[in-house]
Each structure stands twice: as structure tokens, then as C-alpha cells.
């Protein structure tokens, strides 16, 4: 408890930075859930591939080694941008593959809701096991692109440049996504399918295209999150997505799964909650606290804080 009082701003800043990483992964779950009403169990592996993409870009493509000095200026910006874009593309492509292999056939035949779930679980095992065999189960370190300079100290909180980047860029990406879904033609298509698949189809919307686009966008956001995660933690492993995916899924449910705004607030709330709970009760009780809070929230708001996005709760 003392830690919480004395180190409140430090904890809050770390919590927010972690929260934004969750926000972007949650979008991967929430986008897919919004249109398909299905949990994309393979999203954690979509994330995992994104982290490896960042490593490959900075280590192999740009040739930064473990001993190279942190870079500055223009080189830094375009290196970061390249890593971000490649991670997003890799995650996006993996997401499309997941849709194609695990979902499309089942969806077109209109089966029960559990078959795609198990098929996605199978896909998740295939993806993580392939990476495990490729990396011999080892952790892989990522070279340091961004020096972790402390910029300022506000209220005892150490504002670090890498965390600050997450806190600034992640919300921008979120608002771009929100604008996209609200205002573009494809975004409107996604919303239409999310509200009523049958009607949307009758209105001439190409269902396959819209659903692929949804997976792609969710994958892009998850890939961006993977890039941010790698710049902060510089470490990845074949099973890195498991716990993060679980946390992000919890965040999505907390906010109201299928609701884009819900993912934003759910992710932030989860990041803060985890940090505060670890400070007060000890890190070992972090997941327990999170789930108890989740149950309490769901008791009072059975569809999450912001509720489901669409008018009808079930298809």
C-alpha cells in the first residue's frame, strides 16, 4: 500500500504504457468479435509473429547487433518506422492466413459456434509450435534501436522515451482506426456486417472481402502492438503471446467485446489495474485480482463497461 501512495505517478505512467500495448492487441480480438461473434484464439500468435518481425528487421535487415550503439536522428526514425510497418504487415498477413485456413470454410458453411473456436485453437498451436521448432524453444533478444533515456521526472515518475513513444503513437493509431471504421466505405461495410450479416449481404456487400479486411485491420493493430512491446522489452519467445493475449482478451471483455471504444478503455484499465494490484498485493496475485475485478464488473454490467457495439447482442 505504501508503494502505491509514494510511487503513485511512477506506477500510473508504467501502467498506462502497458495499457496501450493491451489496447492495440485488444483491437485484434474486438474487431474480429465485432463481425464474426467469435473469439479469435490465434490472435496471440499473430502478436508473436509481429514481435519476431521486429527482431528480424532490426537484427538481420538493418544489421544492428547486440553491441551496436543506440542510433539517433533521422536514421533512428526511419529504422523505427520500418520495423513498425514490417511488424504490422507480418501480423496482418498471419491474420489473413488465420481467417483463410481456420475460419473461411467453416463460416461459409454456417456451422455451430464452437467448431471455428477449436479450429482457431488448432491454428494457434500450429503457429506457436512452428516458431518453437524454428527457434529451438529459446528466447530471442532484439537489438536496442531506441536508447532508453529518461526525459523528465514528473511527480516522481520517470518518463522514459520508449514508453513515451507508446503513449503518444498508440492513441494516434487508435484514432486513425476509429476514423477508418466510422468514415470510410470499407469501415461502413464492416459496421454493417457487424450489425446484421444477412442484410449487409442483401445490400450488396462482399462478405468475404469485409471479413478479410477486418482480420487484416485487427492484425495490423496487433502487429503495431508487437513492435511497441519489442522496443520496450527487447525480448521475445515462441509463447510470448499466450499471457499477453489472455490479458488483452480480458481487457476487451472488460470494456465490452466487439466495441472499439471498449477496447481502448478496457486496455488502459487493465494496464493500470495490474500495476496497482502488483504494488499492493504482490505480483503473484496480479492475475487473481484482475479476474475478480472482471467478475464484479460483469455482474453489474453483463456486457462489459461500454456494452457490445451493435444493437442486437446475439446473432
Amino acid at each position: 500500500m505504501q508503494t502505491l501512495i509514494h510511487q503513485f505517478w511512477q506506477l500510473t505512467f508504467s501502467g498506462v504504457a502497458q495499457g496501450f500495448i493491451y489496447v492495440l492487441i485488444s483491437l485484434g480480438y474486438t474487431m474480429v468479435y465485432g463481425v464474426l461473434r467469435m473469439i479469435n484464439f490465434a490472435n496471440s500468435e499473430i502478436f508473436m509473429f509481429g514481435t519476431f518481425a521486429t527482431v528480424v528487421v532490426s537484427r538481420d535487415l538493418l544489421g544492428y547487433g547486440s553491441d551496436s550503439q543506440p542510433i539517433h536522428g533521422f536514421t533512428l526514425i526511419w529504422s523505427l518506422a520500418l520495423a513498425l510497418v514490417v511488424s504490422m504487415i507480418v501480423s496482418g498477413v498471419v491474420a489473413l492466413l488465420v481467417e483463410l485456413i481456420a475460419y473461411r470454410r467453416l463460416r461459409s458453411r454456417g456451422t455451430n459456434r464452437l467448431a471455428p473456436l477449436i479450429s482457431a485453437i488448432g491454428m494457434s498451436i500450429v503457429l506457436s509450435e512452428s516458431m518453437r521448432l524454428l527457434t529451438a524453444s529459446r528466447s530471442v533478444g532484439s537489438p536496442r534501436l531506441l536508447a532508453k533515456t529518461s526525459l523528465a521526472e514528473i511527480g516522481g515518475a520517470n518518463i522514459r522515451v520508449d514508453q513515451l513513444m507508446v503513449v503518444i503513437v498508440a492513441p494516434i493509431m487508435f484514432f486513425v482506426l476509429q476514423w477508418f471504421v466510422n468514415s470510410t466505405r470499407l469501415g461502413k461495410g464492416i459496421r454493417a456486417v457487424s450489425m446484421n450479416e444477412e442484410t449487409a449481404k442483401l445490400m450488396g456487400i462482399n462478405l468475404n472481402r469485409v471479413i478479410s479486411a477486418t482480420f487484416l485491420i485487427g492484425g495490423l493493430m496487433t502487429g503495431a502492438s508487437a513492435f511497441f512491446f519489442e522496443t520496450v522489452y527487447e525480448n521475445t519467445k515462441y509463447n510470448i503471446g499466450f499471457n499477453l493475449g489472455l490479458a488483452a482478451f480480458t481487457a476487451a471483455v472488460l470494456g465490452g467485446i466487439g466495441n472499439i471504444r471498449g477496447a481502448f478503455f478496457g486496455g488502459l484499465a487493465l494496464g493500470l489495474l495490474e500495476t496497482y494490484a502488483s504494488a499492493v498485493l504482490g505480483s503473484q496475485w496480479k492475475p487473481v485480482t484482475v479476474f475478480i475485478v472482471l467478475v464484479i464488473v460483469l455482474l453489474f454490467r453483463p456486457n462489459g463497461i461500454f456494452g457490445e457495439a451493435v444493437q442486437q447482442t446475439r446473432v
Binding site: 467448431a115 498451436i125 512452428s130 521448432l133 503473484q284 472482471l294 455482474l299
Partner: protein
Amino acid sequence: MINLRDAGANAWAKWNKPKRAAFSIVAIFLVGLMPYAGFSILNTPISSYADVLVYPVGMYVLMALGLNIVVGKSGMLDLGYVAFFAIGAYTMGFLGTHTHLNTWEILPIGIALAMLAGVLLGIPTLRLRGDYLAIVTLGFGEIIRITAVNTIKIGGPNGISNIPHPPSVFGLTFDIMHPNSFYWLILVLILLVIWMIRRLTVRRPGRAWEAIRQDEDAAELMGVPTLKYKIWSFVLGAAVGGAAGVVFASKALFISPDSFTLNISILILSCIVFGGIGNIWGVILGGVILAYLPERIRFISDARQLVFGITLVVIMNFRPDGLLPRKKREKIVTKSAKEVK
């Protein structure tokens, strides 16, 4: 392709009572002889065939049948089923090493505690629907495991060792040299669960579950006390999980929290959907295949989990309703069901 389910059901419907009894007895007898088939192609490399039949095969089938009451019969998605298995196992572990009670005396206690946990979890959460229930149950499973890791009284991460074997009954010895005894014990439990499910399905609870699964709002409107029956199905599922846990602990002699991870919950759910959700025979087939397959292909060592994943994706894509699906609309009261009565 022949429809095995319908062919089987038709043959069964045409038979009279003695014919059915004879078939059941012969079938049970043959299944009981399975441990002696280890010399054949069925043998598992590296791991011991007779022990594999107990865990994972027997245990997975038992748990899959229990979870099927929740997921298959009343349509609630439970991702934390391992919690009840863990509660049963820890009851056996703790009481077995701290008291003089033996396995047979602890079995009802373990079942009761698992049921109690089911009620405590069910009352607040079963109002939730679909995927919200899934994440809450998933959380419950993790809470039980993390609590076990952090509670030194029950061994913390070290777990509990030296759990006693069951004392012998009917001349059957239960120890590490006699895995067959455990296999037959689980077989008896499986038969009991099958009997229970078949009885309940044709009676009021079965009809209520079916109504809830098809349309919960309509069921509520028609006067079905949905929450009550949902809790019932949850608690019955928990009881089966608890029983499996007690037997597991007294076979393994040693338990630790890492035997009760989320993966087990997901695997058991996969068994159900893979085999044929809602259909007892499908669920059993799914449990047998998914538990047995990774053991059978142990010689490919590292890659066996990959093969497991590929199998899930391929089978689900080509048989989305599982290997032995249930009928589109299960008839609740059929002529044959009345005859059984």
C-alpha cells in the same frame, strides 16, 4: 460415406432388450480388455501403454463427458473446467497425506467440494452469456492454479508428494505395478457418468437443458427456471471433474500446480468438439483420439504438438460437427427411450 451415428442408432432401435443387454455387456467386456492389447500396433512408444490408457486417455474421456454436460447439453462455454479437476486432486492430496482417510472415503468429499465450488462460481456467473461466461470460467481456472502455487500449506509450487494409493477392493490391487486396476476404476466411473447422462437426458433436466441450449429466452418465457438448471448442469459437470481429480491424484502419487494449467481445459473442450459435441459416443471418441494421438506419435518427439494442431484444424474444417455429430434436433422423448424405462 456411411453415417455411422444413424446406422448405429437404427440398429439399436431395432433391437429388443436382451439383445441390447448382450451387446452392452460384450462391448464393455471388450473395452475392459484394452490394456491387454499393448502388444499390437496400438502400443505407445516410450510411454507405457497401460498407463497411457489411465492418464491421459481414461481421464480425458471422463472429464470430456463431464464437461459435455455443461457445453454440449446446456450450451454454456466453460473454459475453466480444469479447476474442478484440481480441486478433486488437491482434496485427495491434502486429506490423503494429513488424515487417515483412504481414497474411497475421500472420493465423495472431493466430489462434494468440486460441486460446492461449482455452486459458488455458478450463482454469480451463470447469468452471463456466451463468451462472457467463457472468460470468467477461464479466469476461475487460473485463480485456482495460482492460489495453489501461492499457498504453502498445500505445498506451493512444490505440490504434494507421497499421496496414498487406494486400498484394494474386490481383489484388485491399486499400485504402480497395476495400472489396469486404475483403468477399470475409471471405466466404471465412465459407465456411471454415461448412465447418469442418459437418464437425465430423457427426463425434466435434459429437456430443460435442451431448451436452454436452443433458445434461453424462449425457455425462460415458457417457465423453465433457467438459472436453476444451468447451475445443475454446471455442478454435475464439476462433480465428474472432481471425481477424475481424486483418482488422478491417487494414481500419480504426486501432484503440483503445473498439472492443472489452462491447456487442460482447452484440450478437454477440444475433445468434445472434435468428437461430436453433445453426443456421448462422439465425445468419447474425441477424448480417446486426442489423448492417445500425442502419445502414439511420441517418436517424432518435438513435432508432435505441431501434428496435434494440424489435426485439429483439418478435422474441424472437414467435419465441423465433429467425428460423430449429434442429430440436428435431438428427440427428447423417443419411443425407444420410453421402452428403456
